[in-house]
């Protein structure tokens, strides 16, 4: 599959992020890394790490709590942007593009109603991360988080070359990373608890949503079976009918792939949903609105919870 312009842009942004952290490893500024990024004493900690640490300590920690709130605010405004713009694991798990994927569009579970949030296996891992921390009393998931491990590996390799520091940790981390992102299929869509947390936080995101202009979309305007946008979407969102989709809009990472592949350039990311579309049933050819008024609050519906 040909590389999209947006993919290249995102890749460069991610690389820049890793590079800044790598430079930080050798400065005294305290830039930190993905687990806690910032400057000096001002830090934005990873929301999952912050939550797990607070659970383990059974107290609220100001800096950690603020981090969670700030990330929540970012997600409300921008959705799950971290996943496709900053996370290095995202780029490692989809090396072969669409071909490797295993969730055929026509096998998406059909829902009765459009939902703001849908539970999938990632939430089971999120619960396990929280549960294990409750039981064992330390941030268990942080030990195996592929995102943190990626940054740790960058540091360890640099320490290897600069100080000649050898350790089995490098081998172990490489192994864990390979196991998680290469051997396990679809880490991001099925297992990542951090991604699940971002989806949860993005449930109330109403800005910059991908919106299909029905009057120019080939499917809705001309009746041509196009589907290009859904095939391009790495979380399998069906923008035309969210009830037939593997994922809800809270999982959109604003990667812009859909907009870029659309032959009619019908997909835009308006800052606010357009009034007209909202009342007509936004971008939905089945006449169902993607979001109705009642559902616009981040209610958690239990429909797809495990065990049902």
């Amino acid at each position: 599959m040909r590389k999209l312009k947006s993919t290249r842009a995102r890749f460069l942004v991610m690389l820049a992020f890793v590079a800044i952290c790598a430079i930080g490893f050798f400065t005294r500024g305290g830039i930190g890394n993905v687990c806690a990024v910032g400057w000096d004493t001002i830090t934005l900690a990873c929301p999952l790490g912050a939550i797990l640490s607070m659970i383990a300590q059974r107290t609220a920690i100001p800096q950690a709590l603020i981090s969670v709130i700030v990330v929540l605010a970012i997600c409300l405004l921008l959705g799950r942007v971290f996943c496709s713009w900053l996370c290095p694991v995202h780029f490692m798990t989809n090396p072969k593009g669409r071909k490797q994927r295993q969730r055929p569009i026509d096998r998406a579970p059909v829902l009765k109603r459009a939902r703001t949030l849908r539970f999938d296996t990632r939430y089971a891992i999120l619960l396990a991360a929280i549960g294990s921390t409750l039981i064992l009393g330390f941030p268990v998931f942080c030990l195996m988080c592929p995102i943190g491990i990626t940054f740790a590996l960058v540091l360890l390799v640099m320490r290897l070359f600069v100080f000649g520091e050898t350790t089995w940790t490098i081998i172990l981390f490489l192994g864990v990373l390979i196991a998680e992102v290469v051997l396990l299929p679809h880490w991001c869509n099925r297992l990542c608890p951090l991604g699940a947390l971002y989806s949860l936080f993005s449930a109330g995101n109403k800005t910059l949503l991908p919106t299909v202009d029905e009057s120019s979309c080939l499917e809705t305007a001309k009746g041509i079976k196009c589907g290009a946008c859904q095939r391009a979407c790495h979380v399998d969102i069906n923008l035309h009918d969210i009830t037939k989709s593997h994922a809800t809009l809270s999982e959109c990472t604003k990667c812009r792939a859909c907009a870029e592949v659309c032959p009619a350039s019908a997909i835009t990311f308006p800052f606010l949903p357009k009034k007209k579309e909202a009342s007509q049933g936004a971008a939905s050819n089945s006449g169902k609105p993607i979001f109705t008024e009642q559902e616009s609050s981040p209610t958690i519906l239990s429909g797809t919870k495990e065990g049902e």
Binding site: S53, S67, L136
Partner: protein, 218 residues
């Protein structure tokens, strides 16, 4: 493609029955158990006691709070912190330990606001108010006489000169002695010890002659 139907497993649910497939359910259960199992494994794996930065002396607290962000290591002006490794125990991986080969801890006495490592820690894994060299003990220095150059009559006293707190002195044989009641484990002696860097290295010498060890009882 939209029209290429491939029904080969339970993934497709009937209309209006939104539940997840058995495969997804299994993945969720297996994944969750894996997280818990690895956590248990890490808890019970052996781990060594480490010299921790000031404010990280309560090992249980440090391990429960540290998210391995390594900010403490980054901000240390003395370059005295290094990440712990697998060799120190799975639980300790990426947590901060003191590396007195690379620097020693002056408790940031010259820095306004006290220890930089404590100030930078976002989860209060390192914590404490009014940390001073007098009220904080990182560990205690120990001399291995067989490795010490002074024992062999070279007249070396690098560590004694380096100790900022007067915990080291020379006895009547000109051999350094540690006053354990004064030593706070700052590591200046270990940092300055030249035993491994001179031509006369004792056979079997694996470390510097004077090193800081974490306190036994925490």
């Amino acid at each position: 493609m939209m029209d290429k139907k491939t029904h080969d497993d339970t993934n497709h649910q009937g209309k209006g029955s939104p539940s997840i497939s058995r495969r997804e359910f299994t993945l969720g259960i297996v994944g969750s158990c894996a997280v818990l199992a690895l956590g248990c494994g890490a808890t019970f794996a052996p781990r060594s006691a480490l010299n921790r930065p000031p404010g990280g002396q309560d090992e249980t607290h440090l391990l429960s709070a540290c998210i391995h962000c390594e900010k403490c290591r980054e901000v240390c002006p003395q370059n005295a912190i290094a990440p712990a490794h697998l060799e120190d125990g799975i639980m300790c991986m990426r947590t901060p330990r003191m590396d007195f080969k690379a620097g020693w801890c002056n408790f940031c006495e010259d820095v306004e606001g006290g220890p930089r490592c404590i100030a930078a820690c976002p989860t209060l894994a390192l914590h404490g108010d009014n940390i001073t060299p007098q009220n904080t003990v990182i560990g205690v220095a120990r001399l291995v006489p067989e490795w010490c150059l002074a024992v062999r009559g070279t007249g070396c006293h690098s560590c004694v000169d380096a100790c900022p707190y007067g915990a080291l002195s020379l006895d009547e044989d000109h051999i350094p002695v540690v006053d354990e009641t004064i030593c706070n484990g700052c590591g200046a002696c270990e940092y300055s010890c030249i035993s491994l860097r001179t031509g006369i290295i004792t056979e079997g010498e694996t470390d510097r002659a004077i090193t800081v060890h974490p306190l036994e009882v925490r």
